[in-house]
């Protein structure tokens, strides 16, 4: 049962049946919870290894959907935390220092033994993952709660693309204040139009839709730029839909503050080094009709999906647990993830090999 569930989920990820960071994260957490509850495992070590190898398969299915990895890491972190808390309550066991990564705590993280059998661990872990899922459900609301503090009456806000978090944030502010929103159309996906449509239904928001080319021209009259993002990287940089970088640079030029609304599940412990590290090429069909292509034989056409935005261009992150400075992001990472759960390729080759073998056998069965 669980295997089917997992396999279909992987297939759905690959075919983008399940898409969008929020849905993918929710589903990932549910699938992992289901797996943990249904499978038999003697101790935390076994289940950590299993979740790691599943996590890698999920990430491989959709490598640029960073939140999959984030949720897997959160789940692993939950297992480790619950294990240590439960173990500490057991008698005759060494006390572990809770402050992680400290120069003075010489507890080598690798020496913590996860192989004790603790009967209550399973139910505790399942409950904690349940809390994580609940937390994610309430996330947009939690982010939106901060709206009143950041948006004032008669301000002009510029926003980009279509982000549910930003939409709810603006709508929440509009309950008490009247203000204007300039929505950038966001070519080639033109998702900004959707945002403009949704916001225009609110009587307190005065919506203006502009093409991407007009960003700089209108920036001088904007009070604040509020955007969503695809992922937040470990240094506080963003992986955001392409076009965002030019918006942010224009805002910087005019010293307009740039506020990023995001749920913490988008916080990713990886580093983007430049524009190419994490990027994807979409179909040029969004802006170039197939019929027209024959007249443009000698023309190259690229449609990159993302922009990397360095942390110094971001003024503030508004997350479901409050506002944070970009330089504070590393601290949040320590709170939510364990350094052993990086889930990168060179992590454990043994697991990879096992996966490959599994995959091969599945293929041969088919």
């Amino acid at each position: 049962m669980d295997e089917i569930n997992l396999e279909t989920f992987i297939l759905h990820l690959k075919r983008k049946v399940v898409a969008g960071s929020f849905h993918v994260s929710q589903k990932t957490a549910q699938v992992l919870r289901h797996y943990i509850s249904i499978s038999k495992w003697p101790n935390a070590k076994v289940i950590i290894d299993q979740i790691k190898s599943i996590g890698k398969r999920l990430i491989d299915a959709q490598p640029l959907e960073f939140c999959i990895g984030n949720i897997v890491r959160r789940v692993l972190f939950i297992i480790r935390e619950e294990y240590i808390t439960l173990k500490r309550n057991l008698p005759n066991l060494i006390r572990l220092d809770s402050s992680k990564n400290n120069l003075l705590t010489y507890e080598d993280p690798d020496t913590i033994d996860y192989s004790s059998h603790i009967p209550t661990l399973k139910s505790q872990v399942i409950e904690a993952i349940g809390e994580l899922i609940e937390e994610m459900k309430g996330l947009h609301k939690n982010v939106a709660e901060h709206a009143i503090e950041h948006i004032h009456s008669n301000e002009i806000i510029m926003t980009f693309g279509c982000s549910r978090t930003v939409e709810q944030f603006l709508v929440e502010a509009a309950r008490k204040r009247k203000f204007g929103v300039i929505v950038v159309e966001s070519a080639p996906s033109l998702e900004g139009r959707k945002t403009a449509l949704t916001l225009s239904k609110n009587p307190n928001i005065d919506v203006t839709l502009i093409p991407d080319s007009a960003i700089f021209a209108l920036m001088s009259r904007v009070n604040k730029v509020i955007i969503g993002t695809h992922a937040v990287m470990a240094n506080g940089g963003l992986i955001a839909p392409s076009g965002t970088h030019s918006l942010v640079v224009a805002a910087k030029y005019h010293s307009v503050p740039i506020v990023v609304c995001t749920g913490l599940y988008k916080l990713c412990p990886l580093y983007a080094y430049d524009q190419d590290t994490f990027n994807d090429f979409g179909s040029p069909g969004e802006y170039l009709k197939f019929q027209e292509a024959e007249y443009l034989v000698n023309v190259h056409s690229y449609n990159p999906s993302f922009d990397y935005i360095p942390p110094e261009l971001v003024s503030l992150f508004i997350t479901n647990n409050g506002g944070h400075n970009p330089s504070y992001i590393y601290r949040l990472l320590q709170e939510y993830y364990d350094p052993r759960d990086m889930l990168e390729d060179d992590d454990e080759d043994v697991n990879n090999n096992n996966n490959n073998n599994n995959n091969n056998s599945e293929i041969s069965q088919k």
Binding site: Y106, A234, N235, Y271, Y273
Partner: protein, 323 residues
């Protein structure tokens, strides 16, 4: 007091001897490792029966270490204060003195082990930042930075390195030779030519003598100006250094560097050979500092054995440590 200090000095004569032999045996190891080893050994040999007594003995030994001729780096005093901090902090956890002593010895061994594995750990972390085909600018002679580059090259990465000459001691020459013998493409340039080459560079990588409280670094003179050039060209500036180089100082300007630098740290006052051969009027003042201070705003990330840190994370670690 004077009567008690003389036997203490003879009693602790082994310290310098031991420290010296350890350093001479392996010139490539960071100074922190022999220091921690000596301190651990001191605890082992100690006849003290109280925590206060032990701490006093350690203080004496640290003073000897700091005063000896082998003290060539700021990191010695930072690792000593780290050790002392640890000794005082642990004292609250153990009501029985023998347990306390045993834990200290064990942790001391762990600390020296950790310090010796730090470079490997940093190399692994930094490996992700090195991609095929990039060009890295290196300044000075940093064993950590060298370890990072050589490790990545051994992993099969192919990249170019530009090394500055790093006057006055021309340590960049040594760096270039080491890299070349490892099979890495190296180009040696003059210190003054940094901005001439900066557009070809993907990022700057350098080591550090010390990492200070605000996340800035003290390093080989010239680091500061390279970081400014890197910032002007919008290139990342990375620092690779072990965590025992975290120092509890807060320089506000370049003149503060002098006071942080230990008096025993030998710095040659000469500039380069060509200059010193020239006839110079007696009235001409020549100054040749060895270190400068790079403020945190010019540093993109620090690769340490505690992980890849932003400069503000450094202050966090230090606060956690000494709070």
């Amino acid at each position: 007091m004077s009567s008690s200090s003389t036997p203490a000095a003879t009693k602790n004569a082994w310290v310098i001897e031991e420290f010296g032999t350890m350093i001479q045996k392996e010139s490539e190891i960071p100074i922190a490792i022999p220091a921690v080893k000596v301190l651990t050994q001191a605890i082992q040999q100690s006849q003290a029966t109280t925590i206060m007594g032990l701490q006093k003995e350690l203080d004496e030994i640290i003073n000897i270490l700091k005063g000896c001729e082998y003290n060539t780096s700021i990191s010695l005093s930072s690792v000593c204060s780290l050790f002392v901090r640890f000794v005082t902090r642990t004292s609250l956890d153990f009501p029985v003195f023998d347990d306390y002593k045993k834990t200290l010895i064990e942790r001391g061994k762990q600390l020296s082990h950790r310090s010796s594995t730090a470079r490997t750990k940093i190399s692994q972390l930094a490996d992700r930042f090195i991609r095929d085909g990039i060009t890295i600018l290196v300044h000075g002679y940093s064993r950590v930075a060298l370890a990072v580059l050589i490790n990545s090259h051994a992993q099969g990465k192919r990249f170019n390195v530009i090394v500055t000459e790093s006057r006055p001691d021309s340590s960049g020459y040594k760096t270039a030779l080491r890299l070349q013998s490892a099979g890495i493409q190296v180009k040696l340039i003059m210190d003054g030519a940094v901005s001439r080459f900066m557009d070809k560079v993907d990022y700057v990588l350098c080591g550090a003598e010390a990492i200070v409280e605000n996340g800035g670094i003290l390093n080989k003179v010239g680091t500061y100006q390279i970081s400014i050039v890197a910032k002007a060209f919008k290139k990342p500036f990375y620092v690779a250094a072990e965590s025992f180089k975290f120092t509890r100082t807060y320089p506000l300007n370049q003149t503060d560097v002098e006071s942080i630098k230990n008096e025993n740290v030998v710095g040659s006052p000469s500039i380069c050979k060509t200059c010193s051969n020239l006839d110079k009027p007696e009235s001409l003042t020549i100054d040749s500092p060895t270190l400068d201070y790079t403020p945190p705003s010019y540093i993109t990330l620090l690769f340490t054995d505690l992980g890849v840190l932003t400069p503000s994370a450094v202050s966090d670690e230090l606060i956690k440590l000494y709070n």
